[in-house]
């Protein structure tokens, strides 16, 4: 293992147990306040663990007796804000980490230009950050982070501030650079997780609740957040051969090869849910635009309706609706 994080931060009620292998990219996902930022702060050295330890490539970075300051950890963070030094040119920004490591001036300049070139930025070397677009600035920040040659790269929502037109191209570039590097990417974007990371860890309330290969976790979510990230409704219950007896009450028809009597999880898309005369009774909690549709959220289930439908039915919080879903749209798997 490259990174081993087994540490707690008592005042934030966070207790983490993470490992990242050499050359592996791990996606860290979860709702706000789940402990993702705390994990990054523990690794980068912005926060001390109240117990436990952080180690990188066998070297203890922090435990009860040890404290390696951030500049000495060989851990570099790339966040949604490129934080380019405004008084330096693009080239000067990429030279900075090389000079900080004692690389001689001419050598540092040459290597910085190579890094800029690799990101297609050689023509912008002389520009100040204020003269760069958002996407260009973020690419300079990537070049600068790579120039620091960290043992571990932390990517904190690296695309979140970019224009939607720019993000996909940058995501593909980043995918190339991350191959063979050890990295953790924190993201809310399912595309980031799918394209950049082989493995995903889901945090909720300071604890790990789901983990595994990215496509597997998203196809068969076992946590509320993974289900939300994958855009699925998730319910738990017992399979009786025709229907699932839901834990919260009610029954859901499904088709499944599972043995009757087993505890199962069932996932289905909100777009497959319709309002019916009969079905699971639920109370509307909120309505939100969701792509072209309106997402109607209830206690535990979501349904995607057309805006025309939602407006015509005068749906508002408190309205009671009956939700139905076709058996062939329900995917079941062992709990």
């Amino acid at each position: 293992m490259s990174l081993v994080l087994r540490a707690a931060v008592a005042e934030r009620h966070v207790e983490l147990d993470l490992e990242v292998g050499h050359g592996e990219t791990l996606a860290l996902v979860g709702p706000n306040g789940a402990g993702k930022s705390t994990a990054l702060s523990l690794i980068s050295g912005d926060l001390r663990p109240s117990s436990g330890s952080v180690s990188l490539d066998g070297r203890i970075l922090a435990d009860e007796g040890t404290w390696v300051p951030p500049h000495d950890r060989r851990v570099t963070t790339l966040s949604q804000d490129p934080v380019l030094f405004p008084h330096l040119s693009a080239l000067g920004n990429v030279v900075f980490p090389l000079r900080a490591q004692g690389v001689p001036r001419g050598d540092a300049r040459r290597r910085a230009l190579e890094h800029l070139d690799a990101l297609g930025l050689a023509g912008l070397a002389a520009r100040r950050p204020a003269q760069l677009s958002g996407g260009q600035a973020q690419r300079v920040a990537i070049a600068r982070a790579l120039a620091a040659d960290p043992r571990l790269l932390l990517l904190d929502e690296p695309m979140a501030a970019l224009d939607v037109d720019v993000a996909p191209a940058l995501r593909e570039q980043l995918r190339g650079f991350l191959a063979g590097r050890t990295a953790i990417v924190v993201t809310h974007d399912v595309l980031d997780a799918l394209s950049l990371a082989e493995r995903v860890v889901v945090l909720e309330q300071g604890r790990q609740v789901d983990a595994g290969p990215t496509t597997e976790v998203l196809a068969r979510p076992r946590s509320a957040f993974a289900a939300r990230l994958a855009g699925l409704n998730l319910v738990a219950g017992r399979w009786d051969g025709h229907r699932i007896e839901l834990e919260g009450g009610g029954r859901l028809s499904a088709k499944s090869p599972l043995v009757p009597g087993t505890a199962v999880l069932a996932a289905f898309r909100p777009a497959a849910v319709r309002l019916a005369e009969q079905g699971l009774p639920r109370t509307v909690h909120s309505l939100t635009p969701h792509g072209d549709l309106v997402r109607v959220r209830t206690e535990d289930l979501a349904a995607d309706l057309s805006p025309q439908d939602a407006a015509a039915r005068h749906l508002a919080p408190g309205t009671v609706v009956h939700l139905a879903v076709a058996p062939e749209d329900v995917k079941t798997y062992l709990a």
Binding site: S44, F85, H87, F96, P97, Q101
Partner: protein, 256 residues
């Protein structure tokens, strides 16, 4: 503008007149035919030279002492720091004469430190060093205040980014923090230079008025005011020009 009632133009105009009229009145009184002779007389030149020399030294001292103070105040939190900040600001509102008295009881012959220095044969009061001390005392808060504000506005994100890229604290300070607040550092230095140049109350109280040693321009103007009013007006005009230049400089920095 559209949301302001019109009647406020009257008091605002009166206020502007109170400031502008005296400056114009003084400029009108300058004897242009003798101007050069008046500001190059022996005593004028001595005061000019002394003022320039002490004010530049004080501004340098303000930078040396004030930059670390501003860094600590801006980057450290805690209840203790707000007390320290209040103490550092006191010279800003303390009457300069009182500052002079306080310095006298510290560095004077009978002073807290002065009596020990006296034993070593060092005498500070009524020397050029006293002028510099008095000027630094009153000018220091100007530098600390403007720099601390800029440091807080700049925030720590660039510094954290630099550390994350492997830069040691000293390198972060010289290559990131200070370059980022350079405009504020320059305008703070200019302001503290201006405050030092205009110092009168603390200087006359703590350093006295010996020609060539402690008689700076404001003291020279004060003394010449009755004996040689033309010289006093000419020197005042020079200091007014400096004040205008300082304002223009500090203003350009702010809008840049």
């Amino acid at each position: 503008m559209r949301t302001l009632p019109r009647w406020i133009l009257l008091p605002a105009g009166l206020g502007a007149l109170l400031v502008v009229l005296p400056l114009a009145a003084m400029a009108l009184r300058v004897e242009w035919s003798d101007f050069w002779a008046l500001i190059t007389s022996e005593s004028s030149l001595a005061a000019l030279r002394l003022s320039l020399q002490t004010s530049l030294t004080s501004a340098a001292a303000c930078v040396l002492l004030g930059v670390p103070m501003a860094l600590l105040l801006a980057r450290t939190d805690g209840r203790g720091m707000s007390l320290v900040r209040s103490l550092v600001l006191i010279p800003l509102v303390l009457p300069p004469v009182v500052g002079g008295i306080a310095l006298l009881y510290t560095f004077g012959r009978q002073g807290l430190l002065g009596r020990h220095l006296e034993v070593l044969g060092v005498q500070i009061a009524f020397s050029t060093t006293a002028v510099v001390l008095a000027q630094t005392f009153v000018a220091l808060p100007f530098l600390v205040l403007s720099l601390e504000g800029a440091l807080r506005t700049a925030g720590t994100r660039y510094e954290r980014a630099a550390a994350s890229l492997g830069a040691r604290p000293s390198r972060v300070l010289t290559h990131v923090t200070l370059p980022l607040v350079l405009p504020a550092l320059l305008s703070g230095t200019v302001l503290s230079f201006a405050r030092a140049l205009g110092e009168f109350g603390a200087t006359i109280t703590f350093a006295g008025s010996l020609q060539g040693t402690t008689r700076t321009l404001p003291l020279e103007i004060y003394l010449q005011r009755e004996s040689d009013p033309e010289a006093a007006v000419a020197l005042s005009f020079v200091l007014m020009l400096v004040a205008v230049a300082v304002i223009a400089l500090a203003h350009r920095r702010r809008s840049a």
